[in-house]
Subunit: 353 residues, 2 copies
């Protein structure tokens, strides 16, 4: 199962809104349709969104037709702007679009075939690097998990959310392969139930003992001393370690701290936004009230009720035990650890270009 | 709107599982059907369950037919046993059944008409006393609410849950009539969505500015300093103040403590169980996994997924700022305050019988 792939000039993805009832794969050569897929959460998960966006720019490059008179650069910039407006919080989206823009800018005055090859290489690079980052996150993170662990996770951070085996969830599955995981509790994750629909589906498919709970049951399990660690992903990590992630993450972090339970955030370095100083600078998307008032199309609240529906919340760095990245495990003080990482990443990139 | 009423020898109740889509009133003269209604949450809320159970014993007394050969006492005891098995946590149920049993025992050797009048008086007494308790809880509790308050509540503790105007919710509506409430945030309260379906419906009907949120959004609002107080009801309060209430209450209490926000529990004295020493002695009901895996009949998780679905959790007394009862506002140490209440209640009852 691959969340998003480039197949013969088209983007192919599994429609995550239809899971677990149906496994529907969608192919499109229209970047606008791909943008809609991101907006509707047919494709979701910060790393998977980043990969999809890179492929979206490829689709725009290949496009002929209505805007054929526009210059190539205008067409690409329009696509980048369109894709950039789909979801505001996950930084992988913007980073990925920026990589595609840079690749284009480097070669834009050369032969179209050369540009196309470079763009495709860049997009496939985003995908490959994310898959490799997942592997490293799984390996690093699994070292944090003691034998006989019962773990709690929120939302979905598995293969569906990434181009590889996942972030927080790959730590779980890697530790499970090492025989260290007794059980996993999966928060259902209202409003869109990614935990109930996707995480249980992925973990059951891997033969892991997973138990579904409502989000507000997590605190009870912690009080009963049934949870050894909480693992979550991230949509954007600020320079000081503050982390934007699926709504409900903050409450889990407070509960974990109250019960003395380790709280691990896992994400590739591409999710760290060095340009954002702290969590209060991260834009938090608000979603359509219907995602709360309707479930599977059925209304569950009175017509016209007011709703507050942020998609994410910000967990302050002081509630995070460690941040597991593909470049290693970060520990407090995060500001220094992340700055060091930034310097290191720049040095490496500087060497390879 | 009356949650449960005695109408011409039958019990009439509003089916809360159909709200807010439909206002369906059900009438029955069969205590078994009434027990099913309690089990299925057509009637819910600890005080309303207590009232319904008292009327259920009346129905059993009036019953002729299949078990006409059984003695009156056997028939009543069978009904009390049946009704007592519907739900284990709310103590009002058992207290109410015990009151009906005592009323019967006092007069069982007398004239059937006399017994019937006494039983009906007792059942209507349970109902009337609960309505009066609601009024006093509203008045006492409203004194705790400062002007311009934004309040957060969980589940439903309004007219639907009681024989009167509610417990925690009556504090909200009373304070709102006094012009002190700017806004109310209502947790949707998974799995059965009593907040989304019932609390919003009741508060909108009373012209109060209510905003629906998913349960895990509460922590974010607290962090944003948007919540001035949290108000919840109770299904059973132990002698030390530990409180069983709808799943999710414990997490809210931890979050409120973390943010320095007052956390108020409101319940009639009939919800205090002096015979239960602490929260660990309160039986917590586990519900059918389908209540988590299906919403409005639609599956939202893979078939066969394991589920942990406790209906309630226990909030330790040290996380509760005050307990508002119809006998006044209780403050820590609760063990002493509750013991005093118990002595007082016994003294009053002793004087009136």
């Amino acid at each position: 199962m691959t969340s998003v792939a480039w197949v013969k000039g088209k983007v192919r993805y599994i429609d995550q809104t239809r899971l677990p009832a149906e496994e529907v794969y969608v192919e499109t050569s229209d970047y606008r349709r791909l943008g809609e897929a991101i907006r509707r959460l047919e494709i979701r998960g910060a790393p998977a969104i980043g990969v999809a966006a890179a492929f979206g720019v490829m689709l725009a490059f290949d496009e002929e037709g209505a805007d054929a008179t526009a210059t190539r650069e205008q067409r690409l910039e329009a696509a980048i702007a369109f894709l950039g407006r789909t979801r505001p919080t996950a930084v992988n989206l913007f980073r990925s679009l920026e990589r595609m823009r840079s690749a284009f800018q480097r070669l834009k005055l050369t032969d179209p075939d050369l540009i196309r090859r470079a763009l495709l290489e860049e997009a496939l690079g985003v995908q490959r690097e994310d898959a490799e980052a997942c592997d490293r996150i799984g390996e690093y993170g699994a070292t944090l998990i003691p034998p006989n662990s019962t773990l709690l996770t929120h939302c979905n951070t598995g293969a569906l959310a990434t181009a590889g085996e996942g972030t927080a969830q790959n730590i779980i599955t890697t530790a499970a392969r090492q025989g260290k995981v007794s059980r996993v509790y999966a928060d259902e994750t209202r409003p869109l139930l990614q935990g109930a629909r996707l995480t249980t589906w992925e973990l059951m498919g891997r033969g892991i003992d997973v138990v579904l709970i409502t989000d507000s049951t997590a605190g009870v399990l912690m009080k009963q001393r049934k949870i050894d660690a909480v693992l979550v992903g991230a949509d954007r990590i600020a320079a000081n370690g503050d982390t934007a992630n699926k709504i409900g993450t903050y409450a889990l972090a407070v509960l974990a701290a109250h019960h003395g339970i380790p709280f691990y955030v896992a994400a590739p370095c591409s999710t760290i936004d060095h340009g954002t100083a702290s969590g209060s600078d991260i834009p938090v998307e608000e979603r359509d009230p219907r995602e709360v008032t309707h479930i599977a199309g059925v209304p569950v609240a009175p017509p016209g009720v007011h709703v507050y529906a942020p998609a994410f919340d910000i967990t302050p760095h002081n509630l995070i035990t460690t941040i597991v990245t593909d470049a290693g495990i970060l520990r407090p003080p995060y500001e220094a650890a992340i700055a060091k990482l930034n310097a290191g990443v720049h040095a490496t990139r500087g060497g390879s270009t």
